[in-house]
Every structure is written in structure tokens, then in C-alpha cells.
């Protein structure tokens, strides 16, 4: 597992029949620091991806490298990459994506057509798209796949942190750009 491990000790007080009990609970979880990386700044859309500081490659490069030489999935990968080129030039319109994630987030997937390959993205607007990672969907829903649900969760968390950053002024989102030097704890 990448990133730092944080261990918290929580003391809870339980009052029962005038007796006070002290209870200590330890919670272990892992957080990974990540930053936003520019992929392509084009006429109608700016593409970004996410880089975990503990990794050599960005999320989108990992997806690309995983399937570029795969006999079965390389053609589908190339269709996705070619399509992203079109999106860069014409915009990330809603109709080009498969809605994924939850109603409350902006996670989408490519392609919309029949394929087992999935690339997960965060579509902030017609002019801002953040590319995530992806893989082969061989379960009925992405939630049933540990790998794919991990990629979706990363984007859902990133989406939440962007919204928080915009609110507290540490992130600026203009018509076609995201401006931030922030690292994100995902």
C-alpha cells in the first residue's frame, strides 16, 4: 500500500448506571498524497490527470501503459485515446460519457460503447476533464471489482477535495483551467 499510515487513538466515555468506562479504540487507515498534473491544454478542453507522489507515473499513464501492448485490449485503448484527442479539440460534452459513480459526484467513464475496458474520469465541465485510471470490467458493476472501485473512489475523493478547495479558496477553477499548487490527501 502506498502513502503514509496514520494511527489515531480515540478515547470514548460510556456512562452506564452512574459508572464511567474508558474505552480506547485504535483506527488504522492509509492516505496517499497526490497532485494534479496537466495532460493537454487544447482549444476547447483542458485535460488533467492525478499523480500519487509515491508513484512514478500518473494515473492516466498507468492506464495507458497497462494496455498499450495488450493484444486483446490495445485496440479499445487506442479508441479511447483517439477519442480523448477529439474531446480536447471539441469539448468534454456530457453526451460523450457514460455516467458512473454516484449522483453526487462527477465521475464518468469511457467508452460508452460495448467494451470491457473502462477509463474513469472526473468531468468538471465541458471544458475541464480529469483523467483517472481504469481497467477491465469483468463484473456486472464496478463496485464488485476491488480494482475498479478503487479507481472510482480515488476520483470521488478527488472531486470532494476540489469542491472543498474551491470553497476555502485554495483551488481556483476558471472556465477551462484549474489552478492550484495543493497536494491532496487521498
Amino acid at each position: 500500500m502506498n502513502g503514509k499510515e496514520y494511527i489515531f487513538s480515540v478515547i470514548t466515555l460510556i456512562s452506564k448506571k452512574n459508572v464511567v468506562y474508558l474505552q480506547t479504540i485504535k483506527i488504522d487507515f492509509t492516505m496517499s498524497e497526490a497532485e494534479l498534473v496537466l495532460v493537454e491544454e487544447a482549444k476547447n478542453c483542458t485535460l488533467y490527470t492525478i499523480q500519487f507522489l509515491s508513484e512514478d507515473d500518473t494515473e492516466f499513464e498507468q492506464f495507458f501503459n497497462k494496455f498499450k501492448d495488450d493484444v486483446e485490449f490495445s485496440p479499445d485503448l487506442m479508441r479511447i485515446v483517439g477519442f480523448l484527442g477529439k474531446i480536447a479539440d471539441f469539448g468534454a460534452l456530457e453526451r460523450y460519457f457514460r455516467p458512473e459513480g454516484k449522483m453526487s459526484d462527477r465521475v464518468v467513464a469511457l467508452p460508452t460503447v460495448q467494451s470491457k475496458l473502462r477509463l474513469y474520469c472526473l468531468r468538471l465541465s465541458d471544458r475541464i476533464l480529469i483523467l483517472g485510471n481504469g481497467g477491465v470490467k469483468d463484473t456486472k458493476t464496478y463496485e464488485e471489482s476491488k480494482e475498479l472501485s478503487g479507481y472510482v473512489l480515488t476520483l470521488q475523493n478527488f472531486d470532494r477535495l476540489i469542491k472543498e478547495g474551491v470553497k476555502d479558496g485554495t483551488i481556483s477553477v476558471s472556465e477551462n483551467k484549474i489552478e492550484t499548487d495543493k497536494t491532496f490527501d487521498l
Binding site: E35, L36, V37, L38, V39, E40, L47, T49, Q51, D57, T58, F60, E61, F64, K68, P75, M78, R79, V81, G82, F83, L84, G85, K86, A88, F90, R95, Y96, F97, L110, P111, T112, V113, E179, T180, D181
Partner: protein
């Protein structure tokens, strides 16, 4: 802000010519259908009903990634009264 180590243009250059041609055509046809729908003031639902199709079928056509058959292209061309694809 950092830029991705692998230039996006390099990734695009890896796309084989036949696949890029396929992507270009699917994307262009989809956008043309969308333009014509807007020009005629048709919603997705109205468009689907007029053609006797499900709205989900229209969603596929408008996705920019649909592999259109000649039969579908012919039906759409007849509906709009103009060819969606021209053969030179």
C-alpha cells in the same frame, strides 16, 4: 503545475491510422446528427419516437463512439432528408 511525463501527442501518435479514421468518422457523424436534431428543434425523446427507436439508441448515436451501420445511416439520412456521409 507539472505536465505529464509522456506527452499526450505521443500517445495520440500511437493510435493506428485505421482506428483514428474510425474515431473521426463516428465523432463527426454523431455531431452532425446532434446539429440536425437541434436545427429541427427535436428533443432526444421526440427524435427517438419519430424514428420508432428507444431513447437509449439515440444516446448511443450521440455518444460520438457508435459504430453506425449503413442501414442506420440510411434511415437517418432519409429522416433528415440529406446524406450524413458522402462518398467521394
Amino acid at each position: 503545475m507539472k505536465t505529464m511525463n509522456t506527452p499526450f501527442k505521443q500517445m495520440l501518435e500511437a493510435v493506428p491510422a485505421d482506428i483514428q479514421q474510425e474515431v473521426d468518422l463516428e465523432f463527426a457523424i454523431s455531431n452532425r446528427i446532434n446539429d440536425l436534431m437541434v436545427l429541427r428543434g427535436l428533443t432526444k425523446m421526440e427524435f427517438a419516437q419519430a424514428l420508432g427507436k428507444r431513447p437509449s439508441e439515440v444516446t448511443k448515436w450521440l455518444s460520438g463512439q457508435h459504430n453506425f451501420t449503413i442501414r442506420t445511416l440510411s434511415a437517418l439520412s432519409a429522416f433528415f432528408g440529406e446524406s450524413l456521409v458522402r462518398v467521394c
